[in-house]
């Protein structure tokens, strides 16, 4: 099996940047919407993961 580590690391770095962009997007959403609005969406995720 051939593994190109450099390529994998570049992918990881791109993924991280993309995730950070989403963190920014979501944090701004939370900041500009009513608590009830963002928390209802977040609750779907939390309740489905833990309960």
């Amino acid at each position: 099996m051939n593994v190109n580590l450099q390529e994998l690391e570049e992918d990881m770095s791109k993924n991280f940047k993309e995730r950070m962009n989403f963190v920014t997007y979501w944090a701004n959403y939370v900041k500009t919407h009513k608590d009830e609005e963002w928390s209802e969406q977040q609750n779907t995720l939390i309740n489905s993961q833990l309960f």
């Binding site: 991280f16 995730r19 950070m20 963190v23 920014t24 979501w26 944090a27 701004n28 939370v30 900041k31 500009t32 919407h33 009513k34 608590d35 009830e36 963002w38 928390s39 209802e40 977040q42 609750n43 995720l45 939390i46 309740n47 993961q49 833990l50 309960f51």
Partner: protein
Amino acid sequence: MFKMEYNTKKKEIKLNREFNQLDKFVLDFCSLIKEYVIVSGYVSILFGRSRATEDVDMLVPKMSKEEFKEIWDKTMKNGFECLNTSKIDEAYKSMNDHAIRFARKNRPLPNMEFKLIKNDLDKYSFENKLLVRLKHGELFISPIEMQIAYKLFLAKGGNEKDVEDAKHIYILFNEKINKEELARLVKLLKVEKQLEMIQ
């Protein structure tokens, strides 16, 4: 536009979020403890991070065995159990060495990591804690500036989740953060480069 009400002078935040089961677990447990501060991941989640967590970190001051017994009895009566041991003496001894975990009986997830305040950072979080008023209760959390700086410190270990938590809180509270205090804590923890990543 900032929807949450954060009164920096009173050290209070009012949050009208809808409740999830994790919030209920945390509030139920916190209502049994007089002196504590919630730190780390759950604080980011409380303020909307798009993730869950299996454990919540609670710091408590050192206490006598009698004081611990009072907490132990209350938690047992209210449907919690200690995951490390069912013996109070063992639990009390263990606390000096590591966190002990409490969960609802027969439901190990989520759980509360119950830790003694051990160093100056812990002490800072406890002494400067913020009160968060929610629709169905209240809880104490670590100050926002420490929350960011400490998450950046944890991120040095390579966990992306910690950088993301720090960034979320930083964006959310950007206008309300005490920038001088944040800079002081960032310098103390030597995470200047990590701070640049989230700015």
